[in-house]
Symmetry: C3
Subunit: 347 residues, 3 copies
Amino acid sequence: MPGPVRLGDVVAALGGELCGGPADAAERPITRLAPIESADDASLSFLSNPRLVAQLAGSAAACVIVAPALRDQAVARGASIVTPDPYLYFARLTQWWAARARAVPVAGVHPSAVVEPGARIAASASVGPFSFIGAGATVAAGAVIGPHGHVGAGATVGEATRLAARVTLGEACVIGARGILHPGAVIGADGFGFAPSQGTWVKIEQLGAVRIGDDVEIGANTCIDRGALGDTVIEDGVKLDNLIQVGHNVRIGAHSAMAGCVGIAGSARIGRHCTAGGAAMILGHLELADHVHISAATVVTRSILKPGQYSGFFPVDDNATWEKNAATLRQLHSLRDRLRALEKKLP
Amino acid sequence: MPGPVRLGDVVAALGGELCGGPADAAERPITRLAPIESADDASLSFLSNPRLVAQLAGSAAACVIVAPALRDQAVARGASIVTPDPYLYFARLTQWWAARARAVPVAGVHPSAVVEPGARIAASASVGPFSFIGAGATVAAGAVIGPHGHVGAGATVGEATRLAARVTLGEACVIGARGILHPGAVIGADGFGFAPSQGTWVKIEQLGAVRIGDDVEIGANTCIDRGALGDTVIEDGVKLDNLIQVGHNVRIGAHSAMAGCVGIAGSARIGRHCTAGGAAMILGHLELADHVHISAATVVTRSILKPGQYSGFFPVDDNATWEKNAATLRQLHSLRDRLRALEKKLP
Amino acid sequence: MPGPVRLGDVVAALGGELCGGPADAAERPITRLAPIESADDASLSFLSNPRLVAQLAGSAAACVIVAPALRDQAVARGASIVTPDPYLYFARLTQWWAARARAVPVAGVHPSAVVEPGARIAASASVGPFSFIGAGATVAAGAVIGPHGHVGAGATVGEATRLAARVTLGEACVIGARGILHPGAVIGADGFGFAPSQGTWVKIEQLGAVRIGDDVEIGANTCIDRGALGDTVIEDGVKLDNLIQVGHNVRIGAHSAMAGCVGIAGSARIGRHCTAGGAAMILGHLELADHVHISAATVVTRSILKPGQYSGFFPVDDNATWEKNAATLRQLHSLRDRLRALEKKLP
C-alpha cells in the first residue's frame, strides 16, 4: 500500500470544500477510508444516509464528507468536506484511492499465453498468464485479460475493459469499452434450446452471440447465454452482480442493475433503469418497462408495463407459525368460498 | 462465416417438401436463419406455434418451414418447406447450419497441455491449450477438451463428447458419448456432508463419483457433486441449464430437463422425462415419479408420485398490494379460526 | 484403489468395540463403505438414524457401526462396531479410508506454474499445473494449489489448506489452516457497490478483502465478495455448499453452515452455529443471532435475534390448486376486511 494522503490532496483531486477542524486540516494525513462508525483519526469517512446523522457527532474520523445541509453539524465536530452528493463523492474517492494503491497491469502478452493466428491485440493491452486469445479476436487498447482468460475466436474486448482472472468470453461475443468482468463469468455459452422428439430432446444449435455495451460490469460466475438466432444484448451501463443467469435472446436495457442470484429466462426484454433484488426470477418471453423495480426473491410471470416496485415472496416467520399459515394457504380458495357463503347468509 | 446456401441444398440434406414461391425457389440463396418476425428475403424461417400464424402472411422470409396444415396459407405467401414437425426440422437445420459454419477442432493434444502418465487420449480427440489430463484418464475418439479443461485422474470422457473451455471433470467421474459440458461446469466436487460433533462439523469424505450417460448437456457453471458412498447418476439424454446445483447421490432419470438456477438436494431421485422451471428447488431424500413437471421457483418438500404439473410460489404484485397481502398471510391460520367461529354462529 | 482392510485395522485406527459375528471377525476383509440397505458381505456400514433400525436385521453388511443402545440387536445379526456416536465414527472412517485410497499431492511447484516475484511457497506445499501465484502471496506448509489455481498478489493460503482445481483467491485475501476450496470458487471478487448519478451507476471501488478462518470449506462456484472498506469475514469452521453468494462486508460466525444456492446480501451479520437450507436468501444489513436456522428457500427480510427455526415459502401443490390459491392470495387483505365486516354484524 502507498503512504498516506493529505486531505488537501483529496480536495485538489476531487473537489468539495474542506472546512472545519484545525488550521492545518489540509495537511492531515489519511491512511484509510472507513465507515463513520469505525473511523479513527487517520480515516476519511462520509455520511450520506440522513438516518445516520446521530453518528456524526461521536465519530473519531479525521474528516467526514457531508452534504451542505449538514455543514454546521459537521464543522462543529471537526474537519469536513462539503459536497452536494457525499455518496457520489465517496464513490469517486474510492476510485482515486484504488488508482493510487493498485498495481497497473503490465502492457503486453505474457509469454505463457496462447494467441491464435489473426488475433489483434493492442500494444497497450495486457494479456495475462495462461490466457487464450482465439483466431481473429480483438483486444483493444488498454484492455486487460487476467490470468486464465479466454477470448474466443472472433470475439472483441473493448478499450480499457478488464477481464479479471478466469473469464470466458465466447466465440464472436463482443464487450464494449470500460467494462469489468469478474472471475468465472461465462459470456456466450449456448442458450438452452431443444425441440422435443419422441421423448428425447434435439438440440437447437445457438447461432447468435452476446453483445455487451460500454461501462458494463458483470459479476463472478455470472452467465450470459448466446442468442439462438439473433444476439443476447446487454446495453450500456448495466451492472450485474454474481451468480446471475441471463438466458438466450434476452435484452437488458441501459443502466439496469441486478443483484446476486437473479435469473432471467430466455427472450425476456428488460427496460432501462430497472433493478432486481437478489434471487428475483424473471420468466421468459415477457417485457419489463423502463424503471421497473423487482424485489428480492420475486418471480415475475407476466409483463410489467408500468414503472414501480413489484414484489412477491412468502414472509418469513418462526417455523411453527409458518407451518400453520402455509397449511391453511393450501385451502385459501375454499376459505374464500366459505366466506362468500357466509356473506350471502348475512347480506 | 461460409457463403450462402441454396434452399435446394437444405431440402436435400434435411428432407421436407419445397413448394410455393418462384419457379427457381430451390436456387434461392439463404444467408441466415431468422425468427419469422425479423426475417428478410435472404432468411429461412419457421412457424411452429399455431398462435403465431398471423405473422405468416406478412413475413418477408425467403422461405418458411411449416406443418402440412398450413401448406395453403404458406404457399400463398411464397416459398415454403412443408414437414410434419417444423420445430424439430428447425432444430436439425440449426445443427446442419452450425456444422457448416463452425471450425472443426483440430485432433491432437495442444503442446501447452499437461497429460499425466497413464492417460489414454484417442488419436482423433482434441485436447486444447492449458488442459490438464490426469493420470489414468480416458479421452475417447472424437472427444474435445476445450482450453483450460480439467479431466481428473481416472476420469472418462466418452466418444464425441465436448468439454467447452474451462470445464472440470473430477477424479474418477465418467461422462458418456455425445455430451456437451459448458464453461465453468464442475462435475465431481465433494458433496456437502458433515457429522456434527460438539458444535463443529466433521467432514464426511465423499468416496463416490459422478456417472453421466450419453447425450447429456450440462450448462455453464452448473455443479454436480460426487456421491458420498455410491455415485451421483445422470441418465441418458438429460439436459441441465446453467447454474444448477445437483447434490450428492442424486439420480436424474433419462431425458429429464432442468432450467437455470435449479437446485436438487442430496439423495433426491428424479424420474424420467421430468422438467423443472428456473430456480425450482427440490429438497433431499425425496422422489419424483416419471413425467413430473415442476414450475419455476417452486420448492418441492415431499415426494411426488403422480405425473403432472406442480407449482408453489407467491404471485407477484405491486409492492403495496403485496405488503398488505403478505402481512395478512401471517395471520391466515387465525383468520381461518375466525371464519370457523362465524360459521358456527350461522350454521 | 488399495486392497481391502481388516475390521481389526479399522478398530485399531478409530476405536470402538468390535463385537458379535464369527470368532475371526477382526480378520474380515472390507473392500468398501456402503449404506446399510445396499451393503454386501465385504461392506462396512453404519446405523445412526433410529428410524432405520428395521433395516439392521436384514442387512448383508460384513459389519455395522451402531450405538450402545443397539448393541444387542446388532450382535444378534453379526459383526458390529459399538461406539457412542456412529455417525461421527463413520465420518472419521471416511477420512481414514480416503487417506488410504487417495494419491498424495507431490510437494513442489509444477514447472508450468507461474510464480511472481516475492511469493513465498513452503517447501512442503504443492502448486499444480497452470497455477498462478501472485507477487507477495504466501502458500503455507502442506497447502495444495490445484491445477489452474489463482492466488492473487499478497494473498495467503494457510497450512494444509487445499484449493481444488480452478479456484480463485483474490488479491490480499486470506484463508487459514485446513481449509478446502472446491473448483470454481471465487474469493475476493468486487462487492456490488455503486453510487447513482444522473441515471447511471458510478462504481465504488471495493478496497477491503476477504478473511477466512481455519477449517472452512467452500463449495464449487461459490462466490465471496471482498469488502467495500473493511473485510468480508468467514469465521472458523464455517461450511458453505456450492453456488452460494456472499456479498461484501458480510460476517458469518464460526461453525455456521449453508446449503447450496444460498444468497447473503451485503453487510449481513450471521451468528455462530447458524444454518440455512438451500436457496435461502438473507437480505443485507441485518443480523442473525447465534443458533438461528433458516429453512430452504426462505427470504429473511429482518433481523432475527432469537434462536430457532424460521421459514417462509409457498407450499407446493398441483398446479390447478396452486393457481386458485395464488389468485385468491392476491385478494387476501380484502378477504380479511370482509371477514371483519361479518364479525361486526355477528358480535
